[in-house]
Symmetry: C2
Subunit: 407 residues, 2 copies
Amino acid sequence: MSDDERSGAFDHLFTAAVRDGLGEEGYGSWRSIDEPDAVSLSFGFPYPESFPHDELVAAAEAVFEEERDTALQYGGGDYADRLVEVVAERERDRGIDCGTENVLLTNGATHAIDVVCHTFLERGDEVFVEAPTFMGTLKLLGNYGVEITGFGNDADGLRVDAVADELERREEAGETPPKLLYTIPTFQNPTGTTLSRERRERLLDLAEAHDFVIVEDDAYGALRYHGEDLPPLAALDESGRVVRTNTFSKTIAPGVRSGWVLADEEILEEVTRMRAGGANTFTQGVLGRYCTEGPFEENVAELRGRYAERRDHMLDRLEEHMPPGTDWTEPDGGFFVWVTLPEGIDTDELLPRAAEEGVTYLPGEQFFPDDRGEDCLRLSFSHVSHEEMERGIEALARATRSRMAEH
Amino acid sequence: MSDDERSGAFDHLFTAAVRDGLGEEGYGSWRSIDEPDAVSLSFGFPYPESFPHDELVAAAEAVFEEERDTALQYGGGDYADRLVEVVAERERDRGIDCGTENVLLTNGATHAIDVVCHTFLERGDEVFVEAPTFMGTLKLLGNYGVEITGFGNDADGLRVDAVADELERREEAGETPPKLLYTIPTFQNPTGTTLSRERRERLLDLAEAHDFVIVEDDAYGALRYHGEDLPPLAALDESGRVVRTNTFSKTIAPGVRSGWVLADEEILEEVTRMRAGGANTFTQGVLGRYCTEGPFEENVAELRGRYAERRDHMLDRLEEHMPPGTDWTEPDGGFFVWVTLPEGIDTDELLPRAAEEGVTYLPGEQFFPDDRGEDCLRLSFSHVSHEEMERGIEALARATRSRMAEH
């Protein structure tokens, strides 16, 4: 519905935060182009051959067979409960001191972030984020009417020094500190960068000194292709102020829409209260069975190998085809490469041309809470074949060169 | 965690609405007793033999076979889309003028109510409800820090005359009108009563005159056992101010955790924005297949027959066993009978004795936003066998008589 068709009949009954955002596109409406003939490097889609179709059907059969009366009832059966244990165990394997009392299963990672926001954020509150950061979280924060301040990333992740400077400045000026700092410290979306160990510790010190909560989104943490695992923020934290959000979207499939919040028990209690509503015990039971009896871990190991190839292939093709002056990140895991085009080419303007040449991507601006990022774009290497990747990067190079020629 | 063990370390960072409710039990914590040897008439559980286990497995197989690449991807495939069409078609069959542009699929009915609240409610806003009403909605409204006013039900449902009086009084006194009125007009939870046609029309007139939104929760509307269907509020409404919430929990299974919001397009746009996060396309695809190719309608028809028997059996046993002075409702549909005990017996106090005698129920107080309902209780006839029902009602009668003997 375009704005001039709106009657606005009910606008005055919406919350102030909703009224602030009237006419804005919602979650899931990203600035992109749908061009069927072009290779899409736009979205962080897992490659569909990785989905465990047969295993999920077999799991459903087994769960229904064993839990005839409870599997589809309110509350679910044992397999649904076992999924909570699987999550707690996996998080303990990452070095986090936790049990099932710290885990709330959610309908995906964004739902996890949403209930955390619902617990902490009121209109006018201050939130710090990386800039660029996951566009979904930016949309979601918009729903709470909060003030968002973005801090840059470099090869070692979030510029924690810049965060420290701003916190100090605010303290001296008597300005409001943030309530939350939202970060994707490992294989960040969209840059693919990872926060160094040293910066992780400094960030935790800052959270403690300035009394804010860190939301650690670790959606890609299980998918490392190079180097050694770093401890999650929640594993280094001793204060209980790191709230972790995570998902099975990248390790099983997005369609199962299952994630979790991991938090200090007192925080989790309130998050659980604010969640409201029951769980999809059908899905949770199926995943509980798949994760305990199925080949979940083996599949994740295979995913790592496959995605590593795709990542290498994308970096090689960028090296081969992109004109001088193009920069890009070299992620050790996750799905994304962040590209900065030469001569400050506007990636939003370039997109129709790129689509015509045969590739689509997400322009960089939508990953920023402010107006930055116009010469950047995000590429996803997760779901196209080698041949499509080749065609896609060649098309991006052609579009970029033809735009450079006009300068 | 009991209150005296709480450190309260993060309380100051929570929202004011969260702080208001610290220490309160969350959604899903109902005042009941878990007594394995007693017959539970406490919860609105469908009877498990009704769950379409094999049909859902068959649907999953078919969806994965036909939609190999999209069924588990973000966005889902055609069957997930078809579920939206199924919902719109069923709502049109109820007489509501709507299309897929009016439907948002949600993770169950409570999630549907929650996103509607998130769109309209701010702390301090006024909300009208039936009293008694669904305890889940009362908990959920508590998360928004709103002021709740309850209005009684009689055999024709919500006392709309009392609502009218209060609206008029507020208008004359210059007091704040409600933003929302939440109602379950058909086979209400917990009373089983149904709002008459005349009251439906008057309620809509009041909403228009006093400019509030009606949230019509129709979770039980498809399960009528006696009498003729009445048009839903949304079918009678011409202003667009009725927002409907509904669920497949009672017609397929609670575990599939699938519901929807049906609303005017301008309202639905904002509700969709406030929803944030993706859909469980796995479940939606399976249900889309089951509802279009599976025996969904036939199963609902069978459910009506089975629940009608259960309802009749409960009413007969109440008539047979309960002491004089006991009152109960006679629902034409849904899952519940609302019982008022003689001599003002406190149902919360009586519960341990009833459990000892062999039955559990939900005491009435938790269905009220205030302190009423202490001599009432809710019985569910949905999920016990005839033999269990017999034992349960006999036990309730024994407990009641023994308490009366002490008066």
